[in-house]
């Protein structure tokens, strides 16, 4: 292994480069397409370098909107998606950290039953329970509202399980030391458990933000008004048109914009996120 180092490195780099190219090329193509005009794309002769219409396309997408399809500018959609993703991510974290704390640290009747009920909901993702959930949301008059978009997706077991596993690794002595130091259950949670969970929270936030941002089926049902569209639905609406040419450059620009917030979240949280997944600091 040691003597063949340079050759080994070379092969590794070649494989890595091929991998990066495979992943990055479609993204690059999307970006290139978003900088040309419609005619060039429809000709089928899209160059592999960016064109001159960058500002024009992005300005139109962000603030004007496509007249024929979505009628709302992408800025509105991004805002809707952002509110939805943030509500889901933050809501999930609050609910799961609290429920996990209750399950791990409190002795109450049917504690294990409660845990297993939560666990079983892992088998019931949105798609499975979509009809009853839709019925409830609509009966509650939450169609075309942010609550309607976010609340039904907040309830989930993954976060609870993640925090439960983490809490179980925290030595009991820490709780006992807190008790002797005069910290009640809430103070122990606030002063000790939350600071220790910060990396786990960051990891869950990244995962859930992207999960919320990428939701397709649920917003498709709930958002009937154009003003409540999310960006993922927006892209889809721009591509499928019945009586007009698809404005590919605008759809591509929207796709680029749709990628930005998740990328931003990952870059900002990456250090904490990776730490949260591998962390054993205690």
């Amino acid at each position: 292994m040691v003597e063949d180092r340079r050759l080994g490195d070379l092969i590794a780099y070649i494989i890595l480069t091929i991998g990066v190219a495979i992943v990055a090329f479609p993204v690059w193509l999307t970006f290139v397409a978003s900088t040309w005009d419609a005619a060039t794309i429809i000709n089928g002769q899209l160059p592999l370098y960016p064109g001159p219409h960058f500002f024009e396309n992005y300005y139109r997408v962000l603030f004007v909107g496509t007249s024929s399809t979505t009628r709302e500018p992408v800025a509105t959609m991004m805002f809707n998606s952002f509110v939805m993703a943030m509500t889901i991510a933050i809501g999930k974290i609050i609910i799961s950290v609290l429920s996990a704390y209750a399950i791990v640290y409190y002795r109450f009747p049917f504690r294990m039953a409660a845990f297993w009920i939560i666990f079983v909901t892992l088998m019931l993702p949105v798609e499975v329970r979509i009809f009853p959930t839709f019925k409830i949301v609509s009966d509650l008059g939450m169609l075309d509202t942010y609550q309607g978009l976010a609340v039904p997706l907040i309830a989930s077991a993954t976060g609870t399980l993640l925090f439960r596993q983490f809490f179980l690794t925290i030595p009991d002595e820490l709780l006992e030391a807190s008790k002797i130091d005069g910290a009640g259950p809430f103070k122990f949670f606030k002063d000790t458990m939350l600071p220790l969970s910060i990396t786990t929270i960051a990891a869950l936030f990244v995962i859930q933000f992207i999960y919320g941002w990428n939701q397709y089926l649920w917003p498709l049902l709930i958002a009937t008004k154009d003003s409540m569209l999310t960006i993922v639905i927006g892209i889809k609406k721009m591509i499928v048109t019945s009586d007009a040419l698809t404005e590919w450059q605008l759809a591509m620009a929207t796709a680029m914009l749709a990628m930005l917030p998740p990328v931003f979240v990952v870059i900002v949280m990456q250090r904490l996120f990776v730490k949260g997944l591998v962390e054993t600091e205690k």
């Binding site: 002595e173 002797i180 910290a183 002063d191 600071p195």
Partner: protein, 359 residues
């Protein structure tokens, strides 16, 4: 400062397991009491009941004439040092020590004063802003002690605080704990399975086994007059040799062909009663062959301890250990003739294991 009294304290777990079977003793104000025993003997459970971390199934625990059975740990005016230190990993050393005081609403300048004083006593001033993970084991141990000191509690509770340290540091910290406890004069309860810690630290030694107290006393008394075979083998290193024997007359036991005088032996035992004789390895004397009452000891191998040597071998077919100062006896396998001072022969009941001593 306070006296701690335990009265018929019991702990029964939900499954019916009796971890502590009715323990009573008291620790005078400023006393240092060590609970010692093998794993699972209930010593930690007992300590945790005093701390309020375990409920008390029956009996009473009182601290300074106040029954604390129903009082929360925080309100018992105690401080505890845990085996794994249980420092808050996300807080600085300073915050670790100040946390309990802050929760009690102690004024800020008072907290600063107390933490600074504890840091000075424990020589941890340079680390005050570090996190526990950046400290060595010994430093963490000091911080854990500091957290207990700043509270100025009525009672210190130590739950095997030195068992995570290396041997050298353990000896050093042991001395420091003793000095500190003397200086502060705080009543302390210390749990350990290490009999050296138990002997050196305590003014009052409580030896536990199977949820019961085997013997309570000052360390030297426990060593000189162990109340049972269990205590005899548990306290002292290397452990006491136990050999089967029979009563031969008042104050006389027979080990096979050999006869041993035991001055402390109860007088009214019938000849022929089966007993067990305990001889400490360090009490064995070497005599010339054929001396009256001497026992033949076949040495098989020798362990070198520096100042002393351990002679392992067999005495009438049973494993036997003898300790002697280096150079006192030729360190080679072979037969030695030994005897024991009649004051240092311990006799125990063959079935119950209790000491058959004079009343």
């Amino acid at each position: 400062m306070a006296q701690v009294t335990l009265t018929h304290v019991k702990k029964v777990y939900a499954g019916g397991v009796e971890a502590v079977k009715g323990v009573s003793f008291d620790i005078p104000d400023g006393g240092f009491c060590v609970l010692v025993g093998p794993s699972g003997c209930g010593k930690s459970t007992l300590l945790r009941m005093v701390a309020g971390l375990e409920t008390i199934s029956a009996g009473e625990v009182s601290i300074g004439n106040r029954v604390v059975n129903q009082i929360e740990p925080a309100d018992r005016d105690i401080a505890m040092v845990f085996q794994n230190y249980a420092l808050y990993p996300h807080m600085s050393v300073y915050d670790n020590m100040a946390y309990g005081l802050r929760n009690r609403g102690t004024p800020k300048d008072e907290i600063e004063k107390r933490v600074a004083e504890a840091a000075r006593i424990l020589a941890i001033e340079p680390f005050m802003q570090r996190r526990p993970r950046q400290l060595s084991g010994g430093q963490r141990q000091r911080v854990a002690m500091g957290r207990a000191i700043v509270r100025k509690p009525q009672v210190f509770l130590f739950d095997e605080p030195l068992s995570n340290l290396d041997a050298k540091l353990r000896v050093q910290m042991r001395v420091e704990i003793k000095k500190l406890q003397r200086a502060l004069g705080v009543t302390s309860i210390y749990v350990t399975h290490d009999q050296v810690e138990a002997m050196t630290l305590s003014d009052k030694l409580v030896v536990m086994n199977g949820g019961q107290v085997e013997q309570i006393g000052v360390p030297s008394e426990v060593y000189r007059k162990p109340a049972s075979k269990f205590v005899a083998t548990f306290i002292g290193s290397p452990p006491m040799n136990i050999l089967p024997a029979t009563i031969d007359g008042p104050g006389i036991v027979a080990l096979g062909d050999a006869i041993l005088e035991a001055r402390d032996l109860q007088q009214d035992l019938a000849a022929g009663t089966k007993v067990e004789v305990g001889l400490r390895p360090e009490d064995i004397e070497i005599v010339t062959e054929g001396q009256a009452g001497s026992l033949p000891f076949d040495v098989e191998f020798i362990e070198e301890l520096g100042a002393t040597q351990l002679f392992h071998g067999q005495l009438s077919g049973l494993p036997f250990v003898m300790q002697a100062a280096t150079g006192e006896v030729a360190a080679q396998p072979g037969r030695l003739w030994i005897t024991v001072d009649p004051d240092r022969v311990h006799v125990f009941d063959a079935t119950s294991g209790t000491r058959l001593g004079r009343a």
